[in-house]
């Protein structure tokens, strides 16, 4: 599952247990996810899935589900 992998990547980046994260986790500073963390996540995802995430797309990701959806679309292209 793409989402599970993304959760585990983010969990490592922000040192939060995976069980505290889900597809509905918002990517905002209120949830202790800063822009630098998002950048790290994008880099990790690109390595893991061998895809390119364009920088202008990143701000449209509201939640981890959105990220997973986008990666899914990139992979199936």
């Amino acid at each position: 599952m793409i989402l599970d992998i993304i959760i585990s990547l983010l969990s490592e980046i922000i040192s939060t247990p995976e069980s505290d994260l889900s597809g509905r986790t918002p990517l905002t500073p209120e949830y202790d996810i800063e822009l630098i963390d998002i950048a790290k996540l994008m880099i990790e995802i690109e390595k893991r899935f061998e895809v390119t995430i364009h920088d202008e797309i990143v701000h449209t990701f509201g939640t981890l589900n959105d990220v997973a959806e986008h990666i899914d679309a990139l992979i199936s292209e």
């Binding site: 822009l35 630098i36 998002i38 950048a39 994008m42 364009h54 920088d55 449209t60």
Partner: protein, 746 residues
């Protein structure tokens, strides 16, 4: 009939044989239902013969010779087991309702054909026990009397002779009686059906479809079929039976329930008709109100006045000056002229109303706003603006992606020099890049994602803009006033403004939402304006239309037969047809004659010959006494066997006030928009909500000169009066409405 007893006993023997076949097949189907995998498939195959054509699951194509003559007609039909069980259970309750004895030319003998709600065969490929009412051969029953007749089978026309037409009353599995009909669907039979009480939901009419109704139901040749029918002529029934028929016909080209959409006047009506298709063995079809389209087209969270609120506001508006302006504003903004202005506005958007700005990246201007605008204007005219803008956006970012390769090393250097990020400077550089791109994306969105509501407001609120787009278009004299009227409190949008913004959105954007819809049924068409049909045409580019209406049942609007020409002009079908139905089956002769006084005297009408009491016009000295007389009539109606009693008020306020006064004295319900319609009882309902519904007894409340005086009010009285099946009374205090003549005065 001398040998009635003998015939009856033959019919009962035959009926029991058929019942046994149904029961046997039902048992098999139910067993099959419990099994799984291959077994289920095998059962399906074995059971193909009694396909009722109600399912979407055509998992196997089977050749099925469905018709009387050995025609090479192929229907691909195998349905889900559950659909078949449902049909067989219905047949067990009421196996068939008619029989015709037909002898095709060249044949020796008449063959007995039984007609019911679905097909039943005794064995695979063997003999038809029951023909589906929608099969071509069943058309004989609806269209011909005994004597020469024909039907159009897929292989060609079959002529012959009908020797006998017989109808059956079979209820709850019990054979009650039969009688032979020498006239079209024996009037006696129809009279019995019509004199029954209305239930809370609309019923099927397969047993009593009339000849011209049948023609409308089975019409396959027109892309746009319009039916103008007076109140009670069965328009809505036709629409629903037509859907059932189209689905039956659609077996070979897979018309699914999801390919069909019904546009209802209100949600109450949606529920009212919700039973018909399941009773005909078909899945329910998606029913929507126009506001649903507006909602799905406009940006999320846009608030707008509903169509119901708009009409209710007009009906209840007491200030004549305000009301006139409101109406003028509505009529203009929903007119063909305004649609043309919106077309021109949409065309002018790229050149004049989108603010393109310079795109700066890595310290230099990579595209000027002027360049972007010119590029857009040079694009192919045949694609929609939103697609063009999408292409422009892609063009911009493709360039930026190239330039990013030179930009990143600079960002990396900058990040490495930042003392705050000694360990994660590479990631920090990426964050900086994301930030830059986010700003660019937001800037580009400013002109790439036009907001239809904002653009529409700009059209209305910018001095002179609308006028500059209206060359050659006749505008209302008080156009300034109309435009200012809309500039009142900004939110929510008036319904007509929301429609205009929706239309604009459809012109700008792509619409994929309803591409698959192939049949659209529009009921109460007389209440729609040009812009509604313009929107429909763009929402459902691949659909055929069935449009039903009555130009006399308008609300706050005058309409005539040119409505249908306008609709045809807008929809541009390959072939169109208008059918006019002037015979009313709902009301008694007396109620219909009384109601016709509200229409132009040359309006043609014909009532079905069913008699009842002359409508009463009841007066009282004051409101309290009037309430008393109203309750007396409601209770009397109940005593006379009326199960549903509708007290119809002009508007919501009047209905609410009346309800508050009566609720502790008598058991009644106030019908709200979006309510569940109960089956029986006394209801208080405003006229606009009563459209399309019917009640055994109707009490029109407040028929005084203060409430009903204009031409528009005439139509309201017509709508209210024709809701009645058996009894009609009108109540007033003070001066009676000048529009009301005749009736029994009391």
């Amino acid at each position: 009939m001398a040998n009635y007893e003998q015939e009856l006993s033959n019919e009962i023997v035959h009926y029991n044989d058929v019942l046994a076949i149904i029961q046997r097949q039902l048992n098999t189907a139910k067993n099959g239902h419990a099994k799984s995998g291959d077994t289920l498939r095998k059962t399906n195959r074995d059971m193909w013969e009694n396909a009722s054509h109600s399912s979407d699951n055509f998992d196997r194509a089977v050749e099925l010779s469905q018709f009387y003559q050995p025609l090479a007609n192929i229907i691909y039909a195998v349905e889900s087991t559950s659909g078949r069980v449902r049909l067989l259970e219905q047949l067990l309750q009421s196996a068939y309702f008619a029989r015709i004895d037909f002898r095709a030319e060249g044949e020796e003998q008449h063959e007995m054909l039984y007609i019911g709600r679905g097909t039943l065969m005794d064995k695979p490929g063997n003999r038809f026990c029951i023909y589906d009412w929608r099969s071509p051969i069943a058309g004989l029953f609806y269209r011909f009397e005994t004597g020469d007749a024909f039907y159009d089978a897929p292989g060609g026309r079959i002529a012959g002779n009908i020797g006998l037409k017989r109808q059956y009353e079979i209820n709850n599995g019990v054979f009650e009686y039969f009688f032979d009909a020498d006239v079209q669907i024996s009037d006696e039979f129809l009279r019995r059906m019509l004199s029954g009480n209305t239930s809370g939901k609309m019923k099927t009419i397969v047993e009593t479809i009339q000849k011209d109704q049948d023609i409308a139901i089975r019409d396959m040749t027109h892309d746009l079929l319009m039916v103008q029918g007076i109140a009670g002529s069965g328009k809505t029934s036709i629409a629903l039976h037509r859907i059932a028929y189209l689905k039956y016909q659609g077996l070979s080209n897979r018309l699914k329930s999801s390919d069909i959409i019904i546009l209802s006047p209100n949600t109450l009506f949606e529920q009212y008709i919700s039973n018909v298709l399941p009773e005909l063995g078909e899945d329910e079809v998606k029913s929507v109100v126009f506001d649903d389209f507006v909602k799905s087209s406009l940006p999320d969270k846009t608030t707008f006045q509903t169509r119901y609120e708009q009409t209710e506001m007009l009906v209840s508006c007491a200030d004549p000056i305000h009301k006139t302006l409101q109406k003028q504003s509505m009529e203009f903004k929903m007119s063909g002229a305004f649609v043309e202005i919106l077309n021109r506005y949409a065309d002018s958007l790229p050149a004049s109303h989108i603010n393109f700005t310079d795109i700066v990246y890595d310290g230099r201007t990579i595209f000027t706003g002027q360049y972007l605008k010119e590029r857009l204007l040079q694009m192919n005219d045949h694609i929609s603006l939103s697609v063009k803008l999408g292409q422009l956006r892609r063009h911009i970012f493709e360039e930026i992606h190239e330039l990013r390769k030179d930009r990143m090393p600079k960002l990396l250097r900058q990040a490495r020099d930042d003392p705050e990020h000694p360990y994660d400077w590479e990631e920090y550089a990426r964050a900086l890049s994301i930030e830059e791109h986010t700003n660019l994306a937001k800037q580009v969105s400013g002109f790439i994602s036009p907001d239809s509501v904002a653009l529409y407001k700009k059209l209305i609120n910018t001095d002179g803009l609308l006028l500059s787009l209206s060359e050659g278009i006749e505008l209302p004299n008080n156009i300034r006033e109309i435009l200012l009227y809309a500039q009142g409190p900004a939110s929510p949008l008036q319904n007509e403004d929301a429609l205009a913004a929706t239309y604009l959105q459809l012109l700008i954007g792509t619409n994929e939402l309803y591409k698959q819809i192939r049949q659209v049924v529009v009921d109460e068409a007389q209440d729609y304006y040009s812009i509604h049909f313009e929107i429909l045409r763009r929402l459902f580019p691949n659909a055929r239309y069935t449009v039903l209406g009555d130009v006399n049942q308008t609300i706050e609007k005058q309409e005539n037969m040119s409505l249908y020409e306008r609709i045809t002009g807008i929809m541009q079908p390959e072939s169109a047809c208008l059918m006019v139905m002037n015979k009313s089956f709902r009301c008694t002769k007396e109620i219909l004659s009384f109601s016709m006084q509200f229409l132009d005297s040359d309006t043609p009408f014909e009532s079905f010959n069913r008699n009842g009491d002359v409508p009463q016009v009841i007066n009282a000295a004051d409101m309290d006494l009037l309430d008393e007389r109203l309750m007396t009539e409601a209770i009397y109606s109940k005593g006379q066997g009326c199960q549903s009693i509708g007290i119809i008020c002009k508007d919501v306020q009047q209905a609410e006030a009346l309800y508050d006064r009566l609720k502790d004295k008598i058991a009644l319900h106030l019908v709200h928009s979006g309510d569940n319609l109960n089956t029986t009882g006394i209801f208080i309902i405003p006229i606009i909500m009563s459209k399309g519904l019917e009640f055994d007894s109707v009490l029109v409340y407040g028929a005084d000169s203060g409430h009903y005086f204009s031409d528009d009010d005439r139509k309201l009285l017509y709508i209210a009066s024709t809701r009645a099946l058996h009894r009609l009374s009108l109540f007033y205090t003070g001066e009676i409405s000048p529009l009301i003549q005749g009736g029994n005065r009391a």
